[in-house]
Symmetry: C2
Subunit: 245 residues, 2 copies
DNA sequence: CAGTGGTCTAGACCACCAG
DNA sequence: TGGTGGTCTAGACCACTGT
């Protein structure tokens, strides 16, 4: 067993372990490595690629975390599945839609600086009543309403503008402002649409909605955004991949 | 800055990096390390604990993956939050409820060997029509109906029995049979309850339900279970924590 | 500039599993 | 018994950060 051809470029700024991980992931997605197939052992790989074992190991661990492969001591490393579905990650709806080949658009319903409501203040860890930016957007995919998203942001150096929000999505704006979102806590549930919500989304009153609240934090461990979103359940669902280490 | 007192036991079978990670996590949850607090640097920790830097690093990386802390090159390591919420992990509803101090109970509606439906066969990667175990359970929390869960399992050495399912939850049974679930793909959505579903769950027809389908795989990368579950949205929601590395 | 985390190396010993 | 992954060590160089 030699496995797919992997080549590393030591002059590249991309870490070696990442180059290796990406090439294995690509081989799996191409079907070159089928579910159940065994990978070479760490020692074989290290030898074949001219890398140290810890580096190879780091690459493989990366794939385990993504749920692509499984390892067993004393046995070896095997492919779990070929089809890779994207899970809930730190992406904006805008990017998700664009990646799926659908045309995202946005109508900004509200954009203002307000006194922070108590529930939001708890989530963002700021004092209630302090000033925060508040926005509410109606999001479309291919011209059809998909979601209503409400967000609160502590006062950052970030200036949110209508133009930017209609073109780019919130997370892209944050990224451009040098804010690196590192993680988030999300709660996912469901409830019935109110009359107003139904009207905006083109559903009937009482229609099932998928709800998500999210609090995201950055580089510094500071909370940068809290969101409360509702999605048309008939048009949207979420994927999550879980893998043990 | 010295941080919380951490002691490692080299005679313990628990890996050193895991001992360290757990003690830091506990200190964060106790509030001893508050959000925004800095941890000692890797070199300081390695020196203080008498461990090598890679081992300390492995411990800290573990906490980053759980979303407890954030690291920045050139700066240091900081605590993100104190309150740790349990996310969507590889736990059964039974265990989740028990941990939350609620009394789980189960009524098995169906338990039989059937020909595998096509959609399930795709998910489990078996040939359609082959024999699989099928079960359907109505789950209660503190005596109130909470969810209807339907599962399909390829023919394993596992013998599912009514008694076991009423007492223990599916994942505990699998674990006891030596099957180690390593990961899963989940899809989360919402829809309206049918008349029959509403009656079982004590909701009205059309009431919003949270839906989840899950395909779980084991040690060998084999799919061991596919489930289609519906939860009363009024009583249940899911938490997910996402962290970038 | 000094200090941080990110990456990489070359070994080592062990627990576990299959043949 | 031989090979696998899991853990651990003791170094090294680098990119990045704040002062």
């Amino acid at each position: 067993m030699t496995g797919p051809e992997i080549a590393v470029d030591r002059s590249s700024p991309v870490p070696l372990y990442f180059q290796v991980a990406e090439q294995f992931a690509a081989a799996i997605q191409r079907g070159e490595l089928a579910p159940g197939d065994r990978l070479d052992s760490e020692l074989q790989l290290a030898d074949r690629l001219g890398l140290s074992r810890p580096t190879v190991r780091q690459a493989i661990q990366h794939l385990v975390d993504k749920g692509l492969i499984v390892r067993r001591r004393g046995v070896g490393t095997q492919v779990v599945r070929g089809e890779v579905r994207r899970g809930v990650e730190l992406t904006s709806l805008h990017d998700d839609l664009a990646r799926a080949g659908r045309q995202p658009s946005t109508s900004v319903l509200e954009l203002a600086t307000v006194a922070c409501p108590v529930e939001v203040a708890t989530a963002l860890d700021v004092t209630a009543g302090s000033e925060v930016q508040h926005l509410r957007r109606l999001r479309f995919a291919d011209g059809e309403p998909l979601a209503v998203m409400e967000n609160w942001l502590p006062l950052h150096p970030v200036r949110l503008t209508l133009d930017a929000l209609q073109a780019r999505g919130l997370y892209a704006i944050l990224r451009a402002a040098g804010i690196r979102v590192r993680g988030a806590q999300q709660r996912i549930g469901a409830r019935a649409a109110t009359g107003a919500e139904a009207q905006m989304l083109g559903e009937r009153r009482g229609a099932p909605l998928l709800t998500m609240t999210r609090t995201a934090y950055d580089d510094h461990g500071r909370y940068v955004e809290h969101g409360a979103h509702i999605y048309r359940a008939s048009r949207y669902s979420l994927e999550v991949t879980v893998a043990e280490r």
